[in-house]
Amino acid sequence: MIGVDAVPPGHHLGGADFVRADIRQPAIARVLAEHAVDTVVHMDVTGTPLGAGGRTAVKETNVIGTMQLLGACQKSPSVRRLVVKSSTSVYGSAPRDPAVFTETTPPKSLPSGGFAKDAVEVEGYVRGFARRRPDVAVCVLRFANILGPGADSPLAEYFSLPVLPTVFGYDPRLQFVHEDDVIDVLRIAAHEPRRGTLNSGTFNVAGEGVLLLSQCSRRLGRPTVPVLLPAVRWVGSALRSVGVSDFSPEQIRLLTHGRVVSTEQMRQTLGFEPKYTTAGAFADFARSRGPGLLPPDALARAVDGVAALPFRPFAQAAAPATSTLSTPGAE
């Protein structure tokens, strides 16, 4: 087993050897040939920039890197299996889309740029490769937003803000997958399929259930600031041009319309049951980030404190209070 990256790993790799190579260079073909690699797991389709370079460098790693790697795989007779990490962002998110995407749902509006467009292009090249090398088992895993204690995706950064800006009048549905489940499903995809399952094809990978953005913010204990959609777009592009954050239009669309995928194929065909539900993965992430400005425990204690007050004298005053209070809570 060998690990390939452009930068040396920060920790011990277990039983694996490390080879330093840049997948944007043809050198990757030599690595495949030297080690007679039979299974390639392509993880380098990523939304986060590696240090300096920004969006251009990310796009080059994602798209050119994939082309080089697929070219190398095509030349290598020993490769039997290819696993590619993709993302559910290939579905885009638009108000005209069905509520739940299956693997075969065509996107109504293709992602116009950013990581999502990279993922669409990468999947296109992988499909081309699968046609040219029908003897190689190709597995494309479309991951929902990956969260967990160690996640460093743009969405994890967003949830770490003290106050969450949201799009006014929209409450997107979000799905998460825990980083431990990501490792598990990659392991299933990289090995021989178990009896009764099939691990080549395209699979959505997400935890069970759905969280609304408003629910996420309440569970994190971080207040939200609703901002009108045009203002969000304008601020987003301003921040991007200054280079402060890589908050792409795709992220804004996700946080406007949300995205939910069907995990039927993952359960039935791939035979994978994630350990964490969407809510579980999010809870694990929330624990790692520490409490926000309005920790849910404190709010719950406050409500319990009110509930513990003697009722009779309180009842007259409290009934109007609850009915008015429940409306902001309900939004």
């Binding site: 108000p95 005209r96 889309d97 069905p98 509520a99 739940v100 299956t102 749902t105 799009v167 006014f168 009048g169 929209y170 409450d171 549905r173 259930g209 759905v210 969280l211 609304l212 408003s214 629910q215 996420c216 913010s217 309440r218 569970r219 959609l229 319309h257 949300g258 939910v260 849910p296 709010l299 719950a300 409500v303 319990d304 009110v306 509930a307 009722f311 009779r312 309180f314 009842a315 409290a318 009934a319 109007p320 609850t322 009915s323 008015t324 209070l325 429940s326 409306t327 809570g329 309900a330």
Partner: protein, 363 residues
């Protein structure tokens, strides 16, 4: 009255049936619960507990516990008029609801349907319109099966889609098994801010074959208005004339899922905003399918948005079974057209019948 052949005995039923909504209206929705069969629907035990708790005074803690997940601020408000109600229980229930909401400790389904919020808040907000303003009379709600999927197909009218919301309240409050209607809405609904959020939370989803089929396969009652914008945006002069039923996609969806089609006729919605004109220029400018001009809108500004207080009747017809067809039937265009026409005819026929029985538009 209890046995239900709705369409054939329509004339007899409507006279006898008028007392039913009146009786129900007096007690709100809680009266509906004791009548209900003890089906294992999650919403019911709680509702029954509420009604039992009110009628036979139970121990306060036990009752408060049972009421807990079902109570809310909206009901507490409603209850203020009712003297001698269990105050502590209401407050405790309201606080438990508030606690769950502010800590985010509630569930939504994949379509964004927030059952708790819908039951406790959204329905309470629409219910005054349903009971007091439009005084909706519901007939034949038992034609919606107590369990399993069903596709409710209704006529669409009234410039703004209030008829869909009233149909949702009708099923929610009157169905003996406490079913929830999941409406399919136009894409415009999901483009508008605030509206899309509330629509998703109320259980509506985009009118497309994928969503409809997913919901039907999960055994939900799905409501669809196949006339779409053609129906809701038609001029006042064409009231109660059914428009073309789309391309009949709803029939093939129901056939694929093997669920019955329940035709539904809504009388009264046509007159709430009499549309005497349609400003095509403004509509194109704003990106809406039509821009209504009524005797009051836009001349009176926001006051023109107040609907006329018409008297409504919602009649659910006899279900049309679709499970007898072979699987490839969903691809048969001739069968599609025939079934679409059958549903359309039945709705149109019932509309005429209800119109003949109607004494006046407003009473």
């Amino acid at each position: 009255m209890a046995d239900a052949k709705v369409i054939p005995f329509d004339d007899d039923r409507s006279r006898g049936g008028t007392q039913r909504p009146g009786r129900r209206r007096s007690g709100g929705r809680r009266d509906a619960a004791p009548e209900a069969a003890p089906a294992p629907v999650s919403a019911l035990p709680g509702q029954q507990a509420v009604s039992q708790g009110q009628e036979g005074g139970r121990g306060p803690q036990e009752a408060a516990h049972a009421v807990g997940p079902q109570q809310d601020g909206g009901q507490a408000e409603e209850a203020r008029e009712r003297p001698g109600g269990g105050w502590d229980r209401r407050v405790a229930g309201g606080l438990a609801f508030l606690r769950r909401r502010i800590t985010g400790d509630y569930e939504v389904d994949e379509f964004g349907y927030d059952k708790e919020l819908t039951d406790q808040v959204l329905m309470s907000l629409i219910r005054p319109f349903y009971e007091k303003y439009f005084r909706v009379e519901v007939k034949g709600v038992e034609n919606i099966p107590a369990e399993g999927g069903a596709l409710v197909v209704a006529n669409h009218s009234g410039t703004l889609p209030l008829d869909g919301l009233m149909m949702q309240v009708a099923v929610h409050d009157h169905h003996p098994a406490g079913r929830h209607l999941r409406l399919l809405a136009a894409d415009l609904v999901f483009m508008l801010p605030v509206v899309n959020e509330l629509a998703r939370k109320a259980g509506h989803t985009l009118a497309c074959a994928e969503d409809a089929q997913a919901l039907l396969e999960r055994g939900e009652v799905v409501g669809v208005m196949p006339e779409g914008f053609k129906g809701i945006g038609k001029p006042f002069s064409e009231r109660y004339k059914l428009q073309r039923f789309g391309r009949g996609g709803f029939v093939s969806t129901a056939l694929r899922a093997g669920t019955p089609i329940v035709p539904c006729s809504i009388v009264g919605a046509e007159e709430i905003y009499p549309m005497i004109g349609n400003s095509k220029t403004l509509a194109r400018l704003l990106g809406f399918p039509y821009f209504p001009i009524t005797p009051t809108f836009p001349w009176l500004g926001p006051a023109g948005l107040v609907p006329l207080p018409t008297k409504w009747t919602i009649q659910f017809g006899e279900p049309i079974p679709t499970d007898g067809y072979p699987p490839e039937a969903a691809e048969d265009p001739m069968l599609m057209f025939n079934l679409t026409d059958q549903v359309r005819e039945q709705i149109q026929h019932t509309l005429y019948k209800l119109l003949v029985q109607r004494r006046s538009v407003f009473f």
